[in-house]
Structures are given as C-alpha cells and as structure tokens.
C-alpha cells in the first residue's frame, strides 16, 4: 500500500471540507500513514471468497406505511439556525455552477 503524502492529506481534507492549516497537513500525514500502515492488514482477506457484512444483524424489509406524521414547526426547524430570513435558513453565497 502506498504511504500517505501531504498532498493526499490535502486532497482528503478538500473532499471532507476541512480547511486544514499547513502544519496540520504534515502532522496528519505522518499519523494517517501510521494508522493506514497498521490497519492495512485487513487486505489479507481481500482475495478470500467471503461475503461482506455491512449490517451486524440480518434484518430486511423494515418499512413504514405512507402516513403523514406531524412535522416540526418552522420555529423548531429553524431554532438552531446560525442565521435565518423569511422562514428560511440563511447561508452565505453558494459557489454553485452557472
């Protein structure tokens, strides 16, 4: 397995939306490299013909009926909002595409 570079940490931080400081990049690169190096052992079983387990218990088909339940009031919904306007969550300009 390849080691984790500073650039890779920067890429991961971008994907995860973390504005890491330059010193953090180095710090984390070393630590993540250690951890990945240690846990990479799991790939020993990569070739084995074993089904993966994503859920600890074998439950299936847990569903609810299509029945309306009470919603929060808009006041409750917005109660934690850092900013609001016109009963909506107010956020800075979205750098979308156009």
């Amino acid at each position: 397995m390849p080691g984790i570079t500073r650039e890779e940490v920067a890429h991961l931080a971008r994907l995860a939306r973390l504005e890491l400081k330059p010193e953090e990049l180095d710090h984390f690169a070393g630590q993540l490299d250690d951890i990945i190096g240690a846990v990479a052992r799991v790939s020993e079983v990569a070739d084995q013909d074993v089904p993966p387990t994503s859920h600890p218990l074998p439950l299936t088909n847990v569903m609810r009926a299509d029945e309306v339940r009470p919603s929060l009031t808009p006041e409750q919904a917005l109660s934690g909002a850092p900013a609001q306007e016109q009963q909506r969550f107010k956020v800075p300009q979205i750098l979308g595409e156009e």
Binding site: A16, L18, Q31, V42, P52
Partner: protein
C-alpha cells in the same frame, strides 16, 4: 443523610421512594448537592439540568401521593451521556461544533427514561463524537477518574462512568461503538453493558458509526444495570435497525445469578503482549472463581479476532466521515467565517476546521480515504469481510460455550496526557471490546478487583450471543456476589473519598 442517599443502589433508592421512606426530590437534591461538591474536580457533567431534574422529581412524588403505581426506577437520578438529544436541553456530543445547540426533539431513549420517571440530572462529558478511549478528546476538557483524578476515566463515556464512581448518580447511560461503555466501566470499577446491536434505539443518539453504535446501561451493580436495561431496550419503529423482538429477561437473570453448569469460553487471542500483569492476574483469578462457582472452562481459538482492531479502524472512520458531513455550519451549531467575504462552501470548511478536534478530523480523513475509489475494496471492502469472519468465529465459539470471558481492557486507567498524541497506542485500549461491536452481540464489564501494581480497578468482560443479553446478567450477578463476599464490600468502597 445525604451521604447515605448517594451510596444507595438504584434498586434500593427506587424501593425507598416507592415506600415513601424517601422522596424523589430528596434523592435528587442529594445528588445535585454531591455534583455541586465534587464535580469541579471530576468534571463528569457538561450540563446539569437542576430545574428539569427537580421538576421530574416533583412529578414522581406527586404521582406517588396520588397513589399511582410507580415504575421500578421511578425517581432514581441518572446521568445521561451528552450524545442523546434532549428537547430544550443542550446537546454537544463533546464538540465545539454543537456548542449551544438545543435540540427540538427527544431521542427515543430520552423519551423512555422520562416515561419511566427516571430523573435526568444532566448531560455527561465524553470524547468528541464518542471518538476516544479517555474522554481527553472532549472539546470541553477532560474528566478525571475518581480513583485517581490524574488518570483517565475511560472513554468515550468517561463522564458517565466517573459520575457513577463518584456517586453523583446511581445510574448512567453510555454508548458503545468499540468499547465506550465497557472500557470506562472497567477503569472506574463500575458496571457497563453493551446490549445486542439493535436492542436499544439509536434514534436521537448522535451517530458516530451507525453499524456499530449501541446505547446501554451503566450502573454500580449488575441488578441496577438490568433494571435500566429493561427501561431503555425494546423495539423502536423510528430506528430501522432496531430488533423487533421481546427484550430478554435481564432483570430476572440479574436476580438469579448463577454459573452452575455453564460453559464459559476463554479466547486465546485475548491475551499476550500489551496486557498489564495485574490485569492478567485478576482475570485469571476470575476464571478460577468461575470454575469454583460451577462453570466449565473451555479454551477457544478465534483467529480472526487479530484483525478486529484493523477492521474497526476502517469501518468506524468510514461511517463517521459520512455521518459527520451534516455538520456544515448551515442549519445548526457553530458557524465560522460568515463575514461576507466567504462562500457557503468556504464557511463550511472553516466551520469544520474550527469546530472539530484532532481525533475527529483524523478519523474523518481516514474514513474518506478508506471509502475513496481505488481504495474501497482493499480497505472498506476487506474490513467488511473481516467482519463476516469475526461473526463466524463467534458463531463457532457459541456452539461450544454459553458465554465468553476476557479482560475488558488490557490495562488499568492510564495517566491523562500519556497517549494523547499517539493514536495507535490509544486505539489498543479497545482490543478486547471491539470484536463484539463488529459482530453485534452483547457484552458486559464488571469489576474483578484492583491491579496489585497500581491499585486501580480491573474489568472482567462477559460476552454473550446476539439477543442472549440475559446471560450477561446471570453470570455477572453470580460473579459480582462472589467477589463482594470475598472482598467483604463492593469494590468502589476502596476508592479514595473525593
């Protein structure tokens, strides 16, 4: 008087309230006074809800006066891990990113506690987002171990275990993703149970790793844990992963402790390098005790357990990287950098950078890495296969034994700061607890003595098959009774007074 109240077990407290010997308000006030007196030193609570607790207590007393039937834990105070949402009461998950957040809804567990008239004293400290084994990762400062305030109380639920050990509450709630109920119980000389995955609703429990997280009871005795277990467990239609089966008869089991004729497994993989001598010694004595009590001891080989820690440190971070994406500074919680010069995207990155601590960032990046294209199969995919192998090892083991025992954690409480910047060393604390999280079955930790070298508590772990949680209590109660008889008192009485 107050001193005697706080030493009572939950069962005794409930009985005295039911009989009128004590009022719920007296009990609550005694615990609030204890918190007032010692929590400055211990720092078990992030938020004490004095008014809310007293209001609940008054309601219990009123109920009794009206002659209404009280539940088995009515009026008993409880310390709630700050990971469960509480309507109108702050919930931070030990993180700056949720500082000041007041949820508009109660977790299912919170609702059940209230419905059972349990008095919620407040919210306890924890490693940020339950990531850690020492509670040092709390954004609000560490919690001290009541046995030695310079040492960790375990984690992530160190606030809950410390509150119990320091007699600030007879009951507490924890959550266990890799050992966060059991390891704190072990290092504080208290009892903690991770029920079968899906036994206790996760609705309203802030997610760390969805397929591993499980809430559970913490207490000072096995019976108290069982009484609390019965209150919080049971099917919840709001949690799709909730088990739709009757709760196993845990209270009955705790009242009828016995290991006579049981087959008890000892796993080869749960010993060796990294285990403190005093821990191994107390564990071996516990196995001997079980034999004396009539159990048959069976040696077990579970080879895939050696890969459990690695699989865990891929699965938990992967799930957390996704679960924690919602903390973006837009809808609730902290927001950083909204000064008119930054876009929403930048504000999200700045908020997350400032709002999350190092361990959380580390795990988010680790998970992001493990799930990214090109690495998924080698890391996340393989970890899921390991999970299957571990389940198979357990299945095979439980064909031969009724329960498995092991040390809960390889060492006693380590000094605060010792492993703070060595994540790998920290992760080893969960070596023995993690396999059950991966497989979904139930486990308990209870005290089995003090390690001779440091006079700190050692935990004995009991592991049962899926939905056989009652076996934990049956065995636990027997072991607890035998030890108390041997020591002449509960272990906690040896703790220094605060």
């Amino acid at each position: 008087m107050s001193d005697q109240i706080i030493k009572l077990t939950a069962a005794e407290t409930a009985a005295k309230i039911a009989s009128g010997e004590l009022t719920a308000v007296e009990v609550t006030e005694a615990h609030l006074a204890r918190i007032e007196a010692v929590d400055e030193k211990v720092h078990a609570f992030l938020h004490v809800d004095r008014e809310g607790a007293l209001a609940q207590a008054r309601a219990v007393d009123a109920k009794r006066e009206r002659g209404e039937k009280l539940g088995p834990l009515a009026g008993v105070p409880l310390a709630l891990k700050d990971i469960f949402t509480t309507e109108g009461v702050p919930t931070t998950v030990g993180s700056k990113i949720l500082e000041g957040w007041i949820p508009p809804y109660d977790a299912t567990l919170t609702k059940r506690l209230k419905a059972a008239d349990v008095v919620i004293l407040g919210k306890t400290n924890m490693d940020e987002f339950a990531m850690g084994s020492s509670t040092e990762n709390s954004a609000y400062g560490p919690t001290g171990n009541p046995w030695d305030l310079t040492r960790i109380p375990g984690g992530s639920g160190g606030g809950s275990s410390a509150a119990l050990a320091a007699h600030m509450a007879p009951l507490a709630i924890g959550t266990d993703t890799g050992g966060s109920i059991r390891q704190p119980a072990a290092v504080t000389g208290t009892v903690g149970v991770k029920p079968t995955y899906g036994a206790v609703s996760r609705y309203g429990m802030v997610a760390f790793s969805s397929s591993l997280d499980q809430g559970g009871p913490c207490a000072r005795t096995v019976l108290d844990a069982a009484l609390l277990h019965e209150v919080i467990a049971g099917h919840d239609p709001m949690d799709s992963t909730s088990v739709d089966e009757p709760v196993p008869p845990v209270v009955e089991a705790a009242r009828n402790g016995s290991v006579q004729g049981m087959r008890v497994g000892v796993v080869k993989q749960f010993r060796g390098e990294g285990y403190q001598a005093g821990v191994v010694q107390r564990f071996d004595e516990s196995v001997e005790l079980l034999r004396e009590l009539g159990a048959e001891i069976v040696e077990l080989d579970c080879p895939s357990f050696d890969l459990a820690l690695s699989a865990y440190y891929l699965i938990a971070p992967s799930e957390c990287s996704s679960n924690l994406a919602r903390f973006d500074g837009l809808r609730y919680g902290a927001r950083v950098g909204d000064d008119g010069t930054h876009s929403a995207e930048e504000v999200t990155s700045l908020t997350r950078e400032a709002g999350f601590g190092d361990e959380v960032k580390r795990r988010i990046m680790l998970g992001t890495y493990a799930l990214s294209s090109g690495y998924y199969d080698a890391y996340y995919g393989s970890a899921q296969k390991v999970r299957t192998l571990i389940k198979r090892d357990f299945d095979k083991a439980f064909e031969q034994v009724d329960v498995i025992v092991s040390p809960t954690t390889p060492t006693t409480a380590f000094p605060i700061g010792e492993r703070a910047d060595d994540p790998m060393a920290m992760y080893l604390a969960d070596l023995c607890t993690i396999p059950t999280n991966l497989a979904g079955n139930a486990a308990m930790s209870l005290p089995c003595g003090l390690a001779p070298e440091d006079n700190l508590p050692v935990g004995l772990q009991i592991i049962a098959p899926v939905m056989k949680d009652d076996r934990l209590y049956k065995v636990g109660a027997a072991v607890e009774a035998a030890f108390v008889e041997k020591w002449g008192h509960p272990l906690l009485e040896e703790a220094p007074s605060l």
